[in-house]
Symmetry: C2
Subunit: 468 residues, 2 copies
Amino acid sequence: MSDTTSRPDERLLAALRERLGERLSTAAAVREQHGRDESWHPSQPPDAVAFPDSTEEVAWIVRQCAEARVPVIPFGTGTAIEGHVAAVQGGVCLDLSRMDRILQVNAEDMDATVEAGVTRKRLNAHLRDTGLFFPIDPGADASLGGMAATRASGTNAVRYGTMRENVLSLRVVLPDGRVIRTARRARKSAAGYDLTHLFVGSEGTLGVITEVTLRLHGIPEAISAAVCPFDDLESAVRTVVQTIQAGVPVARVELLDAVTVRAVAAYAKLDMAAAPTLFLEFHGSPAGVEEQAATVQALAAENGGRDFAWATRAEERSRLWEARHNTLYALLAARPGTRAFTTDVCVPISRLAECVAATRRDLDKSVFGRDGGVAGVVGHVGDGNFHVAMLIDPDNPDEVAAAERINERMVRRALDMDGTCTGEHGIGLGKLRHLTEEHGADAVAVMRAIKRGLDPQGLMNPGKLGSA
Amino acid sequence: MSDTTSRPDERLLAALRERLGERLSTAAAVREQHGRDESWHPSQPPDAVAFPDSTEEVAWIVRQCAEARVPVIPFGTGTAIEGHVAAVQGGVCLDLSRMDRILQVNAEDMDATVEAGVTRKRLNAHLRDTGLFFPIDPGADASLGGMAATRASGTNAVRYGTMRENVLSLRVVLPDGRVIRTARRARKSAAGYDLTHLFVGSEGTLGVITEVTLRLHGIPEAISAAVCPFDDLESAVRTVVQTIQAGVPVARVELLDAVTVRAVAAYAKLDMAAAPTLFLEFHGSPAGVEEQAATVQALAAENGGRDFAWATRAEERSRLWEARHNTLYALLAARPGTRAFTTDVCVPISRLAECVAATRRDLDKSVFGRDGGVAGVVGHVGDGNFHVAMLIDPDNPDEVAAAERINERMVRRALDMDGTCTGEHGIGLGKLRHLTEEHGADAVAVMRAIKRGLDPQGLMNPGKLGSA
């Protein structure tokens, strides 16, 4: 499909400029910034960046682009990490950050509808007085439209699910400019194909998400958090697996390996030993939280984790999770001037300890295990999901090659364990070549058929999911 | 697309018979039985019924039918209630009941993979010694393939979700006979379009589901159940809404109106007053269950529900839920010789009391509210979902017309409240005309584009979702 797209000509740009004025930019710096995310993938700038104000305006821009066969790339906060927004065929980037209105909070129904550009932190700040919160928390303060488009996840997913479980409905501008809503606000429905889930995780390749209706959750009556160091990764992972299998409804359970703990402690000025460490959080009634914590503490002790440090005050907890969320930035600070080659996989939990340990061994044996090398393992381990961040000098071919080799081995290992090549980072450009390996050629052909059915001209974020 | 299909000719039937032998039937009684479900919709028999043994055999049959442009209608247990399996253009029905192997139980990962014909009760019997169970429980002992295909739900959905949340992966025979697996066993994935959710709820119109990988859940340490009568429907619904809003993780909360309680009590020989009644169940640790129960009991008391009757022993609980699951049969027994015109909607919970009460008023004012008439309201009210069963003589046009009018009003009311025309019964034939009303013409066009992309000949369960 890719051969049918065009670059925007002067006529299209003039039309866009006439309507958008200052809200259309062709400045090199703006284009450069919009062609890259937080990953090591080089920028591939769009030809222009538009900053629409409304669904109606998005639809109008998309129609102009469709008529001119010009690609459209939706853009939230640019915090993806697999090259999702790279404009591989040029085109017009739609930066949705101005669409930042919180349209509706239905406290009784525990849902909210927001424009795509609202970020997760802004929504939670807005919800503060309702007793409700929105739990999905990727590292970055991403936009909720972008989080829906990439099926984002985070530290709370083990308890509250990912965007897959927490998007009730979307408003979407289709590739020809028509506007649909994918579902009603009812909690469940058996009325037709599940369009909501089709667009969640479609990475901007089937349409532009302009509004998101989200499930909210009650702020738990009681919360407690703790960190617990272990002698080795396997013991930490084993504790998590046993916790899940015991049915403890743990809200967060995060693993940081020794390298990452050292970086995080330095960056956040926390006093922590450089050992594989679990970050835990429990939500519930006061009695329930105590019960959960006691069970996990006992399991940890059996696995050699004895130094539970509790964060009982809200500020302590915030500091802890802030530190956890800043992992990527902490690792980057541990080797200044580099970029992070990040990757993630997710495996059935019975295989998690083996998968994490083998990956860490790969890192230790590589250039990243030598003096001056930095690579951390961090995981939402309650889901079987973990990440590796390898700090590379993008101009050093040895480091890039080593990172790519380790990534390949990690993906293949996960697939051999009936896992997935990405638990939450997405396909973007970085994992495109793994799609067929994971799903098989026939399933990928189904994805292409869907893409062709919805976007016959191949204009939506081309060169990514569905077209490559 | 419908004009392209053909009836099976002698050549096709001979080819099928040669491979399947006795496992192909063209007997009138078998065809008649496979053209109808448990609803009032008249049977539209297929031309032949095949009983395949394996995915490979399903694929072979589908290929033969595709070459001959003959429709294929997948069939589980025939317990749908919106005419899902009616062979409106004839064709070959694929009865998957012989595909009843439990292929894999991964207790550590809390998942299981079964062939499509395994029923929910058989899976749970098989799981008995693992400490795990599968919670989704529509009234009938349906097949898990059918439950996936119809996005089934049940009494546990408020706590454990529906098939939408509990299917991890599917094996699907595509309309041209290719076989795909929609996902790996990892708990979450950001790798590509969500094919699993596309097939869950696709009602046999995009392919034949032959294997289902399901999430399992730990059998809770403690369970308690109770029934509580109320003075009126609104008070009962209000109690439920307040329970959900208080964040009580109730496992089941079912509403039966007075008519239904009377029928159920008679059918199951239970001693219950004919009043609107909540059936409740709590899962958790002993302390957690007690805490939940105390909260709900207090909320019920505030709404006039004072006579909590507890079922603490497992046998009592089984009897209670067995009675609840037999609601449809109990109502049918209350007016022998009739068929049930059933319908369901789901609304945001803030509108539930109003929606239920208005529907009950409609029933009371109709032929079903008069002497001899029977119509019950039953709901999985924790989700905002409720059902109406109107007992009709299908040969009495007044009763059919009254049922249709009440159904229309109920659907319109739900849509006006931003609800859905069906929470769990599905579209089938009965709700086809509401699809556009709910989703809009453009969203339905997207569904059609998906259908065309995957099934260009329109052979899979034609005349239903995606093609009508």
